[in-house]
C-alpha cells in the first residue's frame, strides 16, 4: 500500500471519527451530571441544517458552525426545561427531541437540498501539506483539532477542575450535592446546554465538512452511535477518543470497500456495519461490566429539591 493511500485512509478515519467524538464528549458531560439526553441525533440534525443554511447564505462556514452550536443548544434548552424544571421522563423527552430535530431540520433544509457550499476545510497553508506525512498532521479541518483538544479539555475539566468535581458530585448523588449547597439544576442545565452545543458542532461537521451538502436525515443515526460510545467509553474522555476513532475506522472500511469496488459483501451489508458494530461493542462492554458499571449513579433520575 502506498504512503499516499495510507495517509488518505487515516485522514478519512479522523474525519469520520470527529463528529462522533465531539457529540460523544458533549453527551458524556451531560451524563456525568446525571442527565440522559437521547436527543443527540435530533440536535445534530438541527446543527447540520442551521450550519449549512448560515454557511451557504453568508459564505462563512465558520459562522455556520457557531450558529449550529447555538441552534442545537436552543433545542437542548427545550429538553432541559422539560426534564429538569418540569421533571418529564428523560427517555421520552430525548426521543421527542430526536423526532423534533428530524422534522424541523427537514423543514428548514427543504430550500437547501441539492446545493453545495464553501467547506470548513484545512486551515494550515498549502506549504505545510506538501508531503503525505505533513498532510496527516496539518491537512485536516479545524474541527478535527477541536475534537482532539476537546478530549483533553473535558478530561481536565472532569478530573482536575473544581467545577468538574461539582458536576460529578451532582451526577453521583444529587441530594447530597444539594444538601452541601451546590445548585443541582443549574449545573445540569449548563451541562445539557453544553451537550447540545457539541451535538450542533458535530452535526455541522457533516453538512460543512464531510459531505458538504444538506439532505434529510443527513446524520443517519450517528447521534445514537455517539450515545452508545459514552457507554463504550465507561464515561471516560480518553476512551471516548479511542472509541470514536475505532468507529471512524469501521465507517472508513465501508467507504473504502465501496470505492475499491470490493464485491465480496453487498453494499447494504457494509452500510449496516456501523450499527452492527455498535451492538457488538455494547454487548462486549456489557459482558465485561457485568455486575457493576461506571455509570453515574443518578443517571436519568429526576431531581426535585425537598424544600
Amino acid at each position: 500500500m502506498s504512503l499516499d493511500l495510507l495517509v488518505a485512509i487515516l485522514m478519512t478515519v479522523a474525519g469520520a471519527a470527529t463528529p462522533l467524538l465531539i457529540a460523544g464528549l458533549g453527551e458524556l458531560v451531560v451524563e456525568k451530571s446525571g442527565v440522559l439526553n437521547l436527543g443527540v441525533e435530533g440536535m445534530m440534525l438541527i446543527g447540520a441544517v442551521t450550519g449549512f443554511a448560515v454557511g451557504t447564505t453568508t459564505g462563512l462556514p465558520v459562522l455556520g458552525a457557531v450558529v449550529a452550536m447555538f441552534a442545537a443548544a436552543l433545542a437542548a434548552a427545550i429538553f432541559a426545561v422539560l426534564t429538569l424544571t418540569l421533571m418529564a421522563n428523560q427517555v421520552a423527552t430525548g426521543l421527542a427531541l430526536t423526532i423534533f430535530g428530524t422534522g424541523v431540520s427537514a423543514l428548514i433544509g427543504a430550500p437547501f437540498v441539492g446545493i453545495t457550499t464553501n467547506t470548513l476545510g484545512p486551515i494550515f497553508p498549502d506549504a505545510l501539506t506538501s508531503s503525505p506525512l505533513l498532510r496527516l498532521v496539518f491537512g485536516h479541518s479545524p474541527l478535527v483539532y477541536i475534537g482532539l483538544a476537546l478530549t483533553f479539555g473535558v478530561a481536565w475539566f472532569l478530573n482536575r477542575s473544581r467545577a468538574g468535581l461539582i458536576l460529578r458530585a451532582v451526577g453521583e448523588s444529587d441530594s447530597a450535592a444539594h444538601a452541601i449547597g451546590y445548585p443541582v439544576l443549574k449545573v445540569r442545565y449548563l451541562a445539557v446546554l453544553f451537550g447540545g452545543a457539541m451535538a450542533g458542532l458535530a452535526g455541522s461537521y457533516y453538512s460543512l465538512v464531510l459531505t458538504p451538502m444538506w439532505a434529510e436525515r443527513l446524520t443517519a443515526g450517528r447521534g445514537w452511535i455517539a450515545i452508545a460510545l459514552v457507554v463504550f467509553a465507561s464515561w471516560k474522555p480518553g476512551r471516548m477518543l479511542l472509541g470514536a476513532y475505532l468507529f471512524g475506522l469501521v465507517i472508513t472500511m465501508e467507504l473504502q470497500a465501496k470505492a475499491a469496488g470490493f464485491n465480496m459483501f453487498a453494499p447494504e451489508f457494509l452500510a449496516s456495519l456501523p450499527y452492527i458494530a455498535t451492538i457488538a461493542v455494547l454487548a462486549i462492554i456489557s459482558a465485561a461490566k457485568r455486575g457493576g458499571t461506571n455509570a453515574p449513579a443518578c443517571l436519568g433520575k429526576p431531581f426535585r429539591a425537598a424544600t
Partner: protein
C-alpha cells in the same frame, strides 16, 4: 422567589391524566400556527389543512382509519413495554421485518392458491417482528445491553436488509428492473372489511387488538405484573426475579404486534414489498403510545389524531405547498407539550407563599377536591 410554585399531589390527578393529551393537542395547534408563520408559511392555513379539512371529507375518513390502524397496533405493543420500563424503540425495524417475513411467504406461494396463504403470511409477519425484537431481548437479559440503543440500531440494519432484498434476491424478474417484488396474488392480499371502501381487514384487527390488550392489562395477572414492574422500576432493573421474563414479554408483544402491522401494510395498502415500505410508523407509534397514556383505548384515539397529521400533511403538500416534514414537526410538538403538561398530573401549580397555597390551587380541572381527600387510594393509570 417565584410567584408560582409546584406542590406535589397526594395522588395522581385522574382528571389531568385525561386532560393532558387534549391540552397538548390544543397547544400544538396554537404554537404550531405561530411557529409555522415565523418560518414563513401560512400558519393558520397549515393548521386548517392538516387538522381540520380532512375531517370534512368522507374519503379522508377512510384514509384516516387506514393510517391509524398500523399506528395503533404498533403503539399498543410498545405501550406494554413502556409500562414495564422496557424501552423498545425498534418498532420501525420490527415492522419492516414483519413485512419482509410475510413477503417471503408470499413470494414462495405466488403460484399457489388457497385461503390458508394469508393467515400463514400474517403469522410469519408476527414471528418476523418477534425474531427482530428477540435480539435486544436476548442481549438485555443475558448481557445487560441497553435495549434502547440495541433496538434502535436494528432499525437501520432492517432498512439495509430491505434494500438488499429489493435490489437483489427478491426483485421481480418481470418488473422492468425496478427494485421491488412482484404484486401479491388475490389470495395473498388483505380483503376489504367493507367492500367498495379503503377499509381493509387490518382496521377491525387493530380495534380487536386494542380491546384485547385493554382486557389483558386491566383484568389479568400478566397485565398486573407489567404494571407493577413499571411502577416499581428498581425492582425490575435490579431485583432479579421476574425482570428477565418481563423484558421478554414486553419485547415479544411489541415485536410481534409491530411485525403484524408490517405484514398487514404489505398485504393491504402496498400489495407488494417496495423500498419505500418504511414510512416512520414505528417512530410515530412512540408518540401515539404516550399521547394515548399507554392505555390501549387511549391509543386508539391517539392513533386517529396522529393519522390526521399524516393524511392532512399529505393534502397540505398539494393544496398549500407545505413541506412533508411539517407533519413530523407537529407530531414532535404534541409529544413535547404532553410531556410538559404531564407535570400537572403529579403536581399542582400554587401561587404565593406555602401558607396560602392550600386554599388557592390554580389552573385546575375540578379534581382538586378529590385529591385533597386524605383517604388512601391506589395509583390509577
Amino acid at each position: 422567589m417565584t410567584l408560582l410554585k409546584l406542590e406535589p399531589r397526594r395522588e395522581q390527578s385522574r382528571g389531568m391524566m385525561l386532560a393532558a393529551p387534549v391540552i397538548a393537542v390544543g397547544l400544538t395547534l396554537v404554537v404550531g400556527a405561530i411557529v409555522f408563520t415565523l418560518l414563513g408559511h401560512n400558519g393558520l392555513a397549515a393548521i386548517y389543512e392538516i387538522f381540520i379539512r380532512p375531517l370534512f371529507n368522507p374519503y379522508r375518513w377512510q384514509d384516516l382509519l387506514v393510517k391509524a390502524a398500523p399506528l395503533a397496533i404498533i403503539a399498543v405493543g410498545l405501550a406494554i413495554g413502556f409500562r414495564a420500563n422496557v424501552w423498545n424503540i425498534g418498532g420501525e425495524g420490527q415492522y419492516i421485518l414483519g413485512g419482509l417475513a410475510g413477503t417471503g411467504i408470499a413470494l414462495l406461494t405466488l403460484d399457489m392458491s388457497g385461503g390458508w396463504i394469508l393467515p400463514v403470511m400474517l403469522v410469519c409477519g408476527i414471528l418476523g417482528g418477534m425474531a427482530w425484537a428477540a435480539i435486544p431481548a436476548a442481549l438485555k437479559t443475558t448481557l445487560g445491553v441497553n435495549e434502547i440503543l440495541s433496538s434502535l440500531m436494528l432499525n437501520y440494519v432492517a432498512i439495509q436488509l430491505l434494500y438488499y432484498l429489493m435490489r437483489g434476491p427478491w426483485k421481480d424478474p418481470m418488473g422492468f428492473n425496478f427494485p421491488q417484488t412482484a404484486m401479491f396474488s388475490a389470495d395473498q392480499t388483505l380483503p376489504y372489511a367493507i367492500p367498495g371502501t379503503l377499509i381493509h381487514l387490518g382496521i377491525p384487527i387493530a380495534i380487536a387488538i386494542a380491546l384485547t390488550a385493554f382486557g389483558v392489562m386491566t383484568r389479568t395477572i400478566t397485565g398486573f405484573q407489567v404494571r407493577v414492574v413499571g411502577l416499581a422500576p428498581k425492582a425490575a432493573a435490579y431485583g432479579g426475579f421476574g425482570a428477565a421474563s418481563t423484558v421478554w414479554l414486553a419485547l415479544m408483544v411489541g415485536g410481534g404486534l409491530a411485525g403484524l402491522a408490517g405484514i398487514l401494510e404489505a398485504a393491504g395498502p402496498f400489495g407488494q414489498m417496495v423500498p419505500q415500505f418504511p414510512t416512520g410508523y414505528g417512530y410515530t407509534a412512540i408518540i401515539v403510545a404516550f399521547l394515548g397514556r399507554l392505555n390501549p383505548l387511549g391509543i386508539l384515539a391517539a392513533a386517529l389524531v396522529l393519522a390526521l397529521t399524516y393524511v392532512g400533511g399529505e393534502s397540505a403538500q398539494t393544496t398549500i405547498g407545505l413541506p412533508s416534514a411539517a407533519a413530523g414537526v407537529f407530531q414532535a410538538m404534541m409529544l413535547f407539550f404532553l410531556l410538559a403538561t404531564d407535570i400537572l398530573v403529579r403536581y399542582r401549580i400554587v401561587s404565593g407563599s406555602p401558607a396560602t397555597a392550600r386554599t388557592a390551587p390554580a389552573s385546575e380541572t375540578g379534581t382538586a377536591g378529590s385529591s385533597e381527600a386524605a383517604k388512601p387510594k391506589t395509583v390509577t393509570a
